[in-house]
Each structure stands twice: as C-alpha cells, then as structure tokens.
C-alpha cells in the first residue's frame, strides 16, 4: 500500500469556497485559492475540488479556479461536479486537473466511466459516490449533493464502477458530511475491503481522533476533510504528526 494520503477538500459555489452541513445549508468561507495555497504549503498530499452547484447548471464551472490553482500548487488535483462527457473531462484536465470525479453522469450512463478511462487512463477517472445509509450495513448511492436517490446499492455500484474502469473511489457519507461526528467507519471499511482500486474517504471528520480511528480500522488510501481545516479547528501538520506518532504510514514532509 502507498502512504495514506491527507486530502483537503474544497467545495465551491461560484467563486467561493463554501462549507455546508450534510451538503446543504451553505456558508461562504472565502477565496478557494488562499485556502488551496495554505494547504499546499502545509504539506497536503493532494486536493479535491467539488463544484457543488454544477448539477443545477449542468456543467462544471471550476476551470478558472483550477487554472489559477495549477499556477502555484504542485500536487495532484481532483475536480468533480457536473462532468457529463469525455469533452467535459478533457476541458477540466486541460485546465490543470489530474483527475475528474464523476457521480451523476456515471449513474445515468455507466459507459461514461469506460470512455473517460480509455481516453485519459483509469487513473484519471475517479468514481464519486455519495452514500446514504438505508439499513444497517446497507447504503444507497445518491446524486445532486445527497438530494436525489438512485436506488443503487453502494457496494454493488463500487464493484460495477471498478469493472467499468474507475481508477479510484471518492466515497462521501451524506449522513456524516459537515456534521463533525466522525466518519462512517462501517461504510468505509466495507467499500475499502471490496474495492481493488484506491478509496478516498470523505465526510464527518471533527477531530484528529476521528482521522486516526478511521485510518486504523477501515484502512482507506486517502482521507479527505474540509470543515475541520477550513475553520482551522485542526491544522494539517498536526494531523500528519499525530498519524506518524500513531505509527501510520503517511508521507514524512
């Protein structure tokens, strides 16, 4: 296994970095560039940008923000939200992204996963899954920031997505997102066990203890956090230091 990646996540609406609770109830945090630069300098392993209103407009509007980021941020960038076609993916990759994360369009037409993988390599095709618990040990995939149900079972969708060519899974717990109540460890463990490609876990981190607990029990490949960093409740360097102290394999910077 590679080193566990620590991945700040920037949810964007228009020009602004925003933060919500369970992907709703948004609050403006400021210029995403300032946050991105801070995180890069503080040793982030990677960044994730999500255009959270893209599905309303039917397209991703992050290319300018990504272009600016790529000028000064020399770590991998994943971009998601409103990517519906190979052309959309190309546009975002040409703006400076390394990978695209696709949810809604992949559910509507799973063949898109294979098309993006064939054009740009499976490593650039991240399957974004918004998971909501529907019964003990059972989760349903949602779209549109956790508003629309799809009827798809998350574990089955993970398997199918990987078969279709997804090179990575970005797994967001809709129930935990923005709550600071800790990660959905059961969900992440099950997906992580099942997937043959790397899994990035997102949603719910409130403290360093949550990070350590998830890393030790569910063994994801990356852990993403937003709220807790944006509000400076936790510093990136402190997460890394605590992980190293706990004997976890994270990059030494």
């Amino acid at each position: 296994m590679s080193n566990l990646r620590i991945i700040p996540r920037l949810d964007i609406k228009g020009k602004n970095l925003i933060k919500g609770v369970q992907l709703e109830g948004l609050r403006v945090m400021g210029d995403p560039q300032e946050f991105a630069l801070d995180y890069y300098r503080a040793g982030a392993d990677e960044l994730v940008y999500m255009d959270i209103v893209a599905s309303l407009y039917g397209r991703n509007n992050l290319s300018d923000i990504i272009r600016r980021a790529a000028d000064q941020v020399f770590i991998p960038i994943t971009v998601g939200g409103g990517i519906r076609s190979v052309d959309d993916a190309r546009h975002i990759l040409r703006s400076g992204a390394d990978k695209v994360a696709i949810n809604t369009a992949a559910i509507a037409r799973p063949e898109l996963i294979g098309e993006v993988a064939r054009h740009f390599g499976s490593q650039a095709m991240v399957l974004s899954i918004e998971a909501k618990q529907v019964a003990p040990g059972k989760w349903e995939a949602y779209t549109d920031n956790g508003r629309e149900r799809t009827g798809l079972d998350v574990l089955q969708w993970v398997q199918r997505g990987v078969e279709m060519g997804a090179g990575e899974i970005l797994l967001t717990s809709v129930d935990r997102e923005g709550t600071r109540k800790g990660f959905d460890i059961d969900l992440i463990s099950q997906v992580s066990r099942l997937a043959t490609v790397p899994v990035i876990a997102s949603g719910g981190m409130g403290s360093i203890v949550d990070f350590l607990k998830l890393a030790e029990s569910a063994r994801p490949d990356g852990i993403s956090m937003a709220d807790t960093l944006h509000y400076k409740r936790v510093q990136l360097g402190d997460i890394r230091a605590a992980a190293l102290k706990a004997g976890l394999a994270v990059r030494q910077v």
Partner: protein, 215 residues
C-alpha cells in the same frame, strides 16, 4: 537567463502542469508538436499520461518517434515523465502488445495486484512513495537526485503499468510497492526518466526539475 526547455506535445493532457512546474523551476518553456523543434531542442521533456498504446499511436502519427531517437543521439539532456518514461522501452503489454521506442531495453508490465505475501493490493498504484536505491546499487551523484544525498524523498505516483528495465545499470531509483520493487527512475547517459510525476511532487519534484535545468 532562463534555461530553454522544449516540451513535446502529442495531445496527451498534462502539458499545462508540466509546463508550469518547469516555469516555476526557472525554465523558459516552449511547447511544440513539431518534431523538428524536438530534434533542435537544448533540453527536451517528454511527458505522457494515459494509455501506452494511445501515446505511441500519437507519437508515431506526429513523427515524434524518430525525433526522440535523434535527440537522444545528440547527447543533450532529456527527461521522460510517466508514460514518457515507459515509451522509451521496447514494448508494453497494456491493451495487448504495443511496441515502444526501444531506446532502453526492457518491457512495460502491469503492477502485481498482490503483495509479496500474496495479499491483494491496489492497482493503480496511486500516492506518495519513497525513492530507494536499486538492489544492484547506484550512486545518485551527478543525477537529478544528487540534491537529496542519502535521503529517500517521497514523490507522487499514479500508474497501473511500470517499466522493467532489462539492464540493471539503467535503474537509478526504485520504490517499494507491497514488497515489489518498481522502477521509479532510470538514467542512461543523457536520458533520465521518471515513472512518478515530478510536476506533482511538491517541492521535492520542483527541486528535481531545477536540477534538470542546471545540468
């Protein structure tokens, strides 16, 4: 004066990021699709991302294969990145057998999906991993890794396939993935190539690119 770098564009996607990282490292970057520019370059960078066969198809269509061969013979410094490293080898088994440029002996193979204990592991290999000395040993002196001395810098990998150099002397650095040694960097004469992405490896990667400019 800024050192001139020619960046060979054959329609794969990560041009912008490579160009920006090189500029950040102090280069005056010229992006070109014209094989004549590549042959005449002071320093040539050949990036690449995606599938080996698609890259080779583009390289052949644009006449870049012969240009890269000629440039290598010139003795001027060249850097290959990711699939830009893989295409230097003889062939790849990605999506069937595809011939490469054959500048370095060896083949490109899928990364094993189990570790050396037989436990399944992720493919693609994505993330930060440490560069280590190859088994046969190799000095990093007078290479892009010289600034790191005896440290093992962490760099960013994202790949499902990896080159297996037939010649141990070509291996400059490896990484350990589930107990398997993966060739992370090769060097022969004026040709250096990385399986990882220096343009995405933060300050460590920028340091290597700076080193490429100074040699």
């Amino acid at each position: 004066m800024a050192k001139k770098i020619t960046l060979l564009d054959y329609g794969m996607c990560n041009m912008l990021n490579v160009a920006r990282a090189l500029e950040h490292a102090g280069a005056d970057v010229h992006v070109t699709e014209d094989p004549r520019d590549a042959v005449a370059a002071e320093r040539l960078v050949v990036p690449g991302v995606g599938a080996f066969s698609e890259c080779m198809r583009a390289v052949n269509r644009l006449g870049h294969g012969e240009a890269i061969h000629q440039f290598v013979r010139s003795g001027r410094p060249m850097l290959g990145i990711c699939v830009g490293m893989q295409i230097l080898f003889e062939a790849s088994e990605e999506f069937g057998e595809t011939p490469g440029l054959g500048i370095l002996p060896g083949r490109v193979r899928m990364i094993p999906n189990t570790d050396t204990d037989g436990v399944s592991q992720r493919v693609p290999h994505i993330g930060w991993n440490y560069l280590i000395e190859p088994q046969a040993g190799r000095s990093w002196e007078k290479t892009l890794l010289e600034p790191f001395g005896t440290e093992s810098p962490a760099v960013y990998f994202v790949h499902s396939f990896a080159a297996q150099p037939a010649n141990d002397d070509d291996r400059l650095a490896d990484c350990n993935y589930g107990g398997h040694r993966i060739s992370a960097m090769v060097k022969r004469d004026n040709v250096t190539a990385t399986q990882f992405h220096p343009e995405r490896s933060g300050t460590v990667g920028l340091r290597m690119l700076k080193e490429f400019l100074s040699r």
